[in-house]
């Protein structure tokens, strides 16, 4: 980790709703300029954590510092230096795209003239210039998401927090968004994002934590997590429903570890092709087989025993 003072620092951070513990004492630090991810399944506590960072949800216990400030005391100051893309778009559907950006700038007390200039540049940045005077209502999901991102940047924030920025978008729209986020990172902004998507985390995050049921179960750079918790390659085999379990012993004999999913066997090994050849030699012939590189999905499966996205 860099030697600069952390931009965000959480120690024993906890969030309770009534009796329910949504975030159960987590520790993490985010350095300036870093791109940091929260990865986890539904209900893991990602949004609850993001909302505490966003100073819109009081911390139940533990300590949280953003820019070295305490959200309880200096929420307003912290929020003025931060851009937020919420999990669900909070745009004004009846107003135009440009109006949405300008009113939001006014919340930061940015003058209307300045707001219009910045809005023009940002709409350019998210490639929505031609939609400036359209109302938000008829825009596609991906376009609305890009408006949300443009809006979060109108105050030129040092820190950007994005809650599932690309959920629900088609692959092409996701790639456009990733590219924009990558540019922001290159501009030296600090990004904190949540996602269910492994590829997104691998593409965008310098470092990430895997959350499950309110706790952090692993932390590190995506590649390091894969090296630590998984093998170089994975052999995926399908034998047909219900038959996968019959071949566990065979698979185990040629690999480091095996996971059984309802529809396939995952065989963890550094050389998937060799493992497949060895299995063929024992007359174990799957209906289909595929060798791929290990991903964060495998890390998650290893750590929690569950898949992240079905």
């Amino acid at each position: 980790m860099s030697s600069a003072a952390p931009l965000i620092q959480a120690t024993g951070l906890k969030k309770r709703f009534g009796d329910f513990v949504a975030v159960d004492g987590i520790d993490f630090e985010v350095a300036p300029g870093e791109s940091f991810g929260f990865l986890g399944p539904n209900g893991a506590g990602k949004t609850s954590t993001m909302r505490m960072i966003g100073c819109v949800s009081p911390v139940t216990a533990g300590s949280l510092r953003i820019f070295g400030l305490d959200p309880d005391e200096d929420g307003r100051t912290i929020r003025s230096r931060m851009g937020v893309v919420p999990q669900l778009d909070q745009l004004d559907n009846e107003l135009t795209v440009l109006e949405n950006l300008v009113i939001y700038a006014r919340y930061f007390d940015i003058s209307k003239a300045e707001a219009r200039t910045r809005a023009g540049e940002l709409l350019d940045f998210v490639q929505l210039t031609e939609k400036a005077s359209s109302t938000v209502e008829p825009l596609s999901g991906g376009q609305k998401r890009r408006v949300s991102i443009a809006r979060s940047l109108i105050s030129e924030p040092e820190l950007l927090i994005l809650d599932e920025p690309t959920t629900g978008l088609d692959p092409q729209a996701r790639h456009v968004l990733w590219d924009r986020l990558y540019q922001l990172k290159e501009q030296g902004r600090t990004l904190v994002l949540t996602t269910h998507y492994m590829d997104e985390a691998e593409q965008l995050c310098d470092r990430l934590v895997v959350m499950d049921a309110g706790k952090i179960v692993a932390e590190g750079a995506p590649r390091d997590l894969i090296t630590t918790y998984s093998t170089r390659e994975v052999l995926e085999m399908r034998f047909g429903r219900g038959r996968n379990a019959e071949f566990i012993a065979d698979a185990e004999s040629v690999s480091e570890r095996v996971e059984v999913l309802p529809d396939r066997l995952l065989v963890y090994t550094d050389d998937g092709e060799a493992a497949l050849v060895a299995l063929h030699a024992r007359d174990v012939v799957p209906d289909s087989a595929l060798v791929r590189r290990s991903s964060l999905e495998d890390v998650f499966l290893r750590l929690t025993g569950r898949t992240l996205v079905d």
Binding site: F17, G54, V56, S57, P58, G75, R76, T77, R79, S80, V84, P86, L88, Q90, L91, D92, N93, E94, L95, E99, I103, Y104, R106, Y107, F108, D109, S155
Partner: protein, 260 residues
């Protein structure tokens, strides 16, 4: 130079209002005109000089008696609707208030924006009535100007407590009941159609507890005279108390809603 937060919140309301202002402004003028022609003049000719009405109404025409109440009742209806459905939209369907409190604005600023929005809506509504009343001999008076101000207070005395209620609701299912069993009975029994002294004693006490009765006494007094300063102060104090309690409740419920 920084602009007060409430004004910046209300800027959004202005952009939305701008889309409907024509019909809203015309409605603010036409609706009281219809009420007045229908109820004020129609019933007025039946009532005036009958059944001791001259004594009960202390010499004013029924038209003037009823018309001056509209300066209070019209903003009441207007802002109550606004404080229910339009406010709910900002918490649920559109989530605009959630977006606001993720910026340097806080729940108090959102509530302060409510004061401007409801105040402006009430001002438009009571001004519309006042303009219509200026057309008629019985009600043409400089007292219409302070009466508009009372109309604004009346609108806020309803809207702020109602908005506090709205902010605490997950669903809008209770809203029609608020209109049916809260607002409309006040309209009927709050002194708009006849002096509350005509009511059974128990109901008269209830009328005293409602903001509408006090607002009507003030608008009527401002335009037609006959209201003592002491009583005027009491009426203003009650309206102010409703607004103050509504404000405090609003800040709390908004905070609880948006910052769980």
């Amino acid at each position: 130079m920084s602009t007060p937060a409430a004004v910046r919140v209300a800027y959004r309301d202005w952009l939305l209002y701008r889309q409907v202002w024509r019909s809203n402004a015309v409605g603010a003028f036409v609706q009281p005109l219809l009420y007045l022609l229908g109820v004020g003049l129609g019933i007025g000719t039946l009532v005036d000089d009958n059944a001791g009405s001259t004594v009960i109404l202390e010499g004013t025409s029924y038209f003037a008696f009823y018309a001056t109440a509209l300066i209070a009742t019209t903003p009441m209806f207007n802002t109550s609707g606004e404080a229910l459905w339009s406010t709910m939209d900002g918490f649920t369907w559109g989530n605009a208030y959630r977006a606001m409190v993720a910026t340097p604005l806080d729940p108090r600023d959102v509530a302060a924006g409510f004061v401007i929005r409801f105040g402006a809506r009430a001002a438009i509504a009571s001004t519309g009535v006042a303009v219509v009343l200026a057309l008629f001999d019985d009600t043409r008076s400089l007292g219409l100007i302070p009466a508009v101000f009372v109309g604004v207070l009346c609108g806020l005395a309803f809207a702020m407590p109602i908005a506090a209620w709205t902010s605490s609701r997950a669903q809008a299912d209770s809203f029609p009941a608020i209109l049916r069993f809260g607002i409309i009975p006040m309209f009927l029994f709050g002194g708009a159609f006849y002096p509350i002294t005509q009511l059974p004693d128990a109901l008269e006490v209830v009328a005293w507890a409602t903001p509408l009765f006090h607002a009507i006494e003030l608008t009527r007094g401002a335009v037609l005279g006959g209201l003592s300063t002491d009583l005027a102060v009491v009426h203003l104090a009650v309206l102010t108390a409703y607004i103050a309690v509504g404000w405090i409740a609003c800040v709390r419920t908004i905070r609880r809603r948006l910052w769980p």
